[in-house]
Amino acid sequence: MTRASHRGNSQPRWLFPFVITVIFFLSALPLGRLAVTGIASATGGGARQMLGDPGLWQAVYNTLTTSFFGMIAAVVLGGGFALLLTLFDIRGKTALGFLFMLPTMIPPQVTALSWIGMTGPSSTLLKAIGMAPPLGSPQPLYSIGGIALLYGVQNAPLVYLSLRAGLLALPRDGVEAARLAGASSWQVLKDVILPLSLPGFTAGAAIAFVSCVGNFGIPAILGIPASIYTLPTLIYSKFASFGPGTFGDVSLLSALIGILSIVGLAVEERVLRGRDYRVIGLSGQVAVFRLGSWRWPAELGLWLTIFVILFMPLTALIASSLAPAYGVPLNTSTATLHAYREILFRQAVTRTAFTNSIGLSLATAFGLLVVTVLTGYFLVRGKSRFTRVISALAEIPYALPGIVLAVAFILLFAAPIPVIGVSIYGTIWIILIAYFSSFFAVSLKPVVSAFRQVDPSLEEAARLAGAGFSRRLRDILVPLVAPAAGASVILVFLIACNELTISALLWSAGTQTLGVAIYNLDDSGSFNLASALSVLVVIMVVAMMLALELMAKRLPKGVVPWRS
């Protein structure tokens, strides 16, 4: 039987130590290890040599410029979509919103591959319609501008969501009051809505910037062939040419990425602080403005954008996957499913990748759920003064770029684990632990919002009925948070299955994931195989997003990331 603790608290005594242990191993320990190595090498001799390397400063410069322009592109795209879809009487909002959100759930390396397939001299799609540039002309996306553009497409949904959340929180009565005061639609937009939505804009821009800084898939595919290195790809290349100073170097590089991310996150935190107090009055229902004769052009513009950023690249991807070989023109007689047969039935590497990714993702999704249900309960019901620290520590690994986390786990597990003397470096277990750490916040968030929605009296009634903690958990709490738990499992599975950044550093022969397999196939020139694998991944992503979309009505607000 579970003895309740002496304080008037509903939690069993083991819960607090359990949560502390989990947080320590998944967050504090790896990040602390990274910090220690970083500080040690910064104070040692390695740092000066490293900082004298012009390649490092070039990478910093590349990271900052691509991220900055990527952020601008994301703000223009995401901001435009959010304003139009939230405030105006556009038709087909749900479909447009869903399609606009897709790029952020598609893995970045797949986005990069599909855009390569759409542009450049060897584009199968352009060849098929006779518009390909002459052979030998450069691939325009292998450039700072190309990387920034794709950053923009990939991260525009983040700006969209942030701004939209802000717009939905606007008070409708405030807008109505301005109308009654005699303001025209345009004046209301200019004087009331835009000033109030500025924090949403800024926060979205900051998240997009952080996400760009940590992006690995896009600069790996677009940058490395043109020798354009950003900080994450520089870390990757340092590991490729492993030397005695590598650990010190990469921990310093990770620290740089970490600092850039923390600056961005601090900006977000700052502008969003006090959002709860700012808007008074009824909110949740936004006044819709009529576009009148501008409705048609606006809708056309939106669909055209979706066409360019989503349909065209995906069509190019499919075209590339059907082509018999890279560069061969595609028509009805040359189209072949050879690439699919190859990756599904012949290549052991891709089949291992499927098994690894799906196994890892299932293990992460369900394993984390057990941990996050207990942690979520602790955070929501707990009266502990550590609650804030614990939720911050749970958030950090996901907020930090995956590459930083991967480095932290390499440093942690490079040597055999003390006491038991087993080394998990190079095995699938190190990837699994890193996934647990990285996606902890993803799994936790839906569960926490579900617990917040559960009226405490439901649990109190069960206590008075005589049910102890494990009994309440089984009979009352878990059934009540079940829809959110389901969403949490799908979300973690979706993100883990598409992940490249962490596994790119942690994989070794036999433990490659789908992300790694796509990257390696492209790297070795098998563009059609990489495309076919990417198509399958996109299909999987869309299927799971649709599943979540169907569940959305039964979930607490904010659980499905692209709905608000």
């Binding site: 003895r3 309740a4 002496h6 304080r7 008037g8 009226d455 009296s457 439901l458 109190e460 009634a461 069960a462 206590r463 008075l464 009925a465 005589g466 049910a467 102890g468 009994r471 009979d475 009352i476 059934p479 009540l480």
Partner: protein, 342 residues
Amino acid sequence: MAKLILNRLSKSFETGGRPAVNDVSLTVREGGFLALLGPSGCGKTTVLRMIAGFEQPTDGSILLGERVLADASDMVAPEHRNMAMVFQSYALWPHMSVAENVGYPLKVRGVSGEKRQRKVREALAAVRLEGYADRRPADLSGGQRQRVALARCLVTEPDVVLLDEPLANLDRHLRQEMEETFREFHARSGATMIYVTHDQAEAMALATDVAVMSEGRLLQVATPEEIYARPEGRLVGGLVGLGTVLSLPLPHDDKRLLDWAALQAMLARSGNGPTADVLVRPQDVEVAPEGLPATVLSVLFEGERYALRLALPDGQAVRAFSRQPVKVGDQLSVVINSAWRL
């Protein structure tokens, strides 16, 4: 079963400020029905939650007969107190049917099979919901949910039943019906009941004893009749029943029940001497000749009568009822038949 004793109970929250509950001592006799009455934020819900075991007292203790349920250092968990509670939100588990909700306390206690089904049927019959066993709580009306919550309390024969503003979310018509159900429930179960409310009419209609609280302190505990006729202090006087409190010169004797002669004498004396608070019920203010002149300040038609506010010559206002229509500004003559010195 035994009597429930609150012994110098106090509760302060970590957020600071004045204690939510301050030195409350109270004994609820076995089988009694106590209403905890007070404005919102007076600490009555905190007292209830301490009795249930959801909060721990920071000082004092709670005893059920000889057994110490809680004090500042130790407490019995709610799951081991054999109490039941009707929550303001009813707290029905939405994923269970009505029968499962009602039967859950039995299930936890390991009662199963035919015995459990029979007890659930009996409990549902007691609240007249026999036909609803397989419904989900979401398919029920507010009053029906309330009765399911009550049936869940009934099913285990608890020592103490706690009710946290159970009628707050119901409309007026349903309230009367539910008050009847509560009375029946109390008579049938014989359980000690503690009922938290801010509605004095509800408290008086239901309880055998009323305890009035304000700002964490217990002001008075008495039967409804006693507390209506002889309230202690301005706060209780203002809270219980309709009435106005007049500030009048201190009378010469310490009689508390004042008749018209005594009142007339007090009203006639003017001066800046010490004053006493005197509670005047509207039904004791009569429009009659040879009374005190009074000006009508406001008139409200209530159907069966008019509710008036009258200004006395010294400017203080009293409430009164009138069968005849009057207009604002009319001059009347009134007699105050009886008043209570607080």
